[in-house]
């Protein structure tokens, strides 16, 4: 379980997250939505400590991430993250992108890592691309490799930060399909997204952020049909 407890984050004098508390249970799929600059990415990045919270705590399976004694590398290894701009390793092939961390971090043998990686590439429909370098892949293919790379660590949680925002429209679906099947397999996921249709269909819960505050949390049906706050109403009017 991921538990965010009274989290605040400032960059210098700019406070971008205000006392956020939320929980993500095993198997939950949570969509995080909100206007640009509302702090969605920052919140997500606090969950694996790419950003260090200014105040408050983040718990992963009962481990307090903000405690200096916690081995953050161990915790990160069980949280996969997918970025808007993929961040594949450009000097490694698709397959090497997948095998690198499992071998380095978990000490898997090359044979084990490669067979896991091939299975995952197959799962995302890219088994024939294993020897391609990232710059020879389309955006959608890159993002699918990036998802597979995160899954290669066999994480218990997956964080997605606008995984389809940098894609050409015709490639959005192939990535969302992979995420859907991942959600269907019971993966715990937190997804920052502008794809409201996807959020409605796949998420168990929608978290609406505005101005750095968690303004509303509700099941998608409720959130999209009858938002409680004016801010959520205004946001939905713009995006739907």
């Amino acid at each position: 379980m991921i538990k965010v407890d009274n989290l605040s984050k400032s960059f210098g004098s700019l406070k971008v997250l205000h006392n956020i508390s939320m929980e993500i249970n095993k198997g939950d799929v949570v969509a995080i939505v909100g206007p640009s600059g509302s702090g969605k990415s920052t919140l997500l990045r606090c969950v694996n400590l790419l950003e260090v919270p200014t105040e408050g705590k983040v718990w992963i399976d009962g481990q307090n991430l903000t405690d200096p004694k916690t081995n953050i590398m161990h915790v990160r290894a069980k949280i996969g993250m997918v970025f808007q701009h993929f961040h594949l390793f450009p000097h490694k092939t698709a397959l090497e992108n997948l095998t690198y961390a499992p071998m380095k971090v978990k000490g898997l043998s090359k044979g084990e890592a490669v067979s896991t990686a091939r299975n995952l590439l197959k799962k995302v429909g890219l088994e024939e691309k294993e020897n391609e370098y990232p710059n020879r892949l389309s955006g959608g293919q890159k993002q699918r490799v990036a998802i597979a790379r995160a899954l290669a660590m066999e994480p218990e949680y997956m964080l997605f930060d606008e995984p389809t925002s940098a894609l050409d429209p015709e490639m959005v679906k192939e990535v969302l399909d992979v995420m859907k099947s991942l959600a269907g397999s019971g993966m715990t996921m937190a997804i920052v997204t502008h794809e409201m249709g996807f959020a409605r269909e796949v998420a168990d819960r929608v978290c609406f952020l505005d101005g750095g505050a968690l303004v509303e949390q509700a099941p998608p049906k409720e959130f999209f049909q009858s938002p409680r706050t004016d801010r959520a109403k205004a946001f939905l009017e713009k995006v739907l």
Binding site: M73, A77, H85, F89, R149
Partner: protein, 217 residues
């Protein structure tokens, strides 16, 4: 113009190529390793390390190389009591000196690597050392190869100043022949041509490596 008069001394000068190459390659390897270490100091968050590396670069880039060389060669025996050879003094001075320049090149190269690469590695639980070694430095190297090659070419040319402490490199040999025959133009021109050829070869080599690396893009 007198080239015929130094004809039998040309092999003697040519042998200096071997001395110069030996000297330059050893210095280049040490300077490169030292440059990487200094660059890592510079980007670290440890104030002491960044302070040290910055001060180091300031000093070694600010003092003329020929003076650094003289200090190391003539002062070391008196201060440390170790009777340093001219070759060792040369390698030491050039490694320390080029380390300062190379560290700046590498630092810039590391900073030019997309921050997302670091974040992707961190998010996968990869710790600092393997991340630097396997993810960041290989990408930085590719960007800085032209600048690095330039530095090695400079090193080759500048290496001629080790002749001032008596290393028998191309330059020194040309001077010896000149003094011996009372004939300056032919031996010095011979040395100049040799340096030009060396630099040309290094430049072509650099381009070939660059092309190879670009292929994997």
């Amino acid at each position: 113009m007198g080239f015929s008069q130094i004809y039998d001394s040309i092999p003697y000068i040519l042998y200096g190529i071997w001395v110069t190459l030996q000297f330059v390659s050893v210095s280049a390897v040490f300077g490169f390793i030292w440059g990487i270490i200094l660059a890592l100091f510079k980007i670290s968050r440890v104030t002491f390390l960044t302070g040290f590396a910055d001060a180091y670069t300031f000093i070694f880039r600010g003092v003329p190389l020929i003076l650094q060389l003289a200090i190391i060669y003539f002062a070391t025996p008196q201060v440390v009591g170790y009777d340093i050879t001219a070759f060792q003094a040369g390698v030491l001075a050039f490694s320390l000196h080029s380390g300062a320049y190379i560290s700046e090149i590498i630092r810039a190269g590391i900073l030019a690597v997309d921050k997302g690469q670091t974040e992707a590695a961190q998010a996968l639980g990869v710790s600092y050392r393997p991340m630097m070694k396997d993810i960041i430095l290989p990408q930085a190297m590719k960007n800085i190869l032209p600048a690095l090659m330039n530095e090695f070419i400079t090193l080759t040319k500048e290496s001629a100043i080790v002749s001032t402490i008596g290393v028998l490199d191309i330059m020194r040999r040309a001077q010896i022949v000149a003094a011996d025959k009372f004939l300056y133009f032919p031996p010095l021109i011979t040395a100049a041509v040799i340096y030009l050829i060396l630099v040309t070869i290094l430049t072509l080599l650099g381009r070939a490596v660059e092309r190879r690396m670009r292929r994997s893009d």
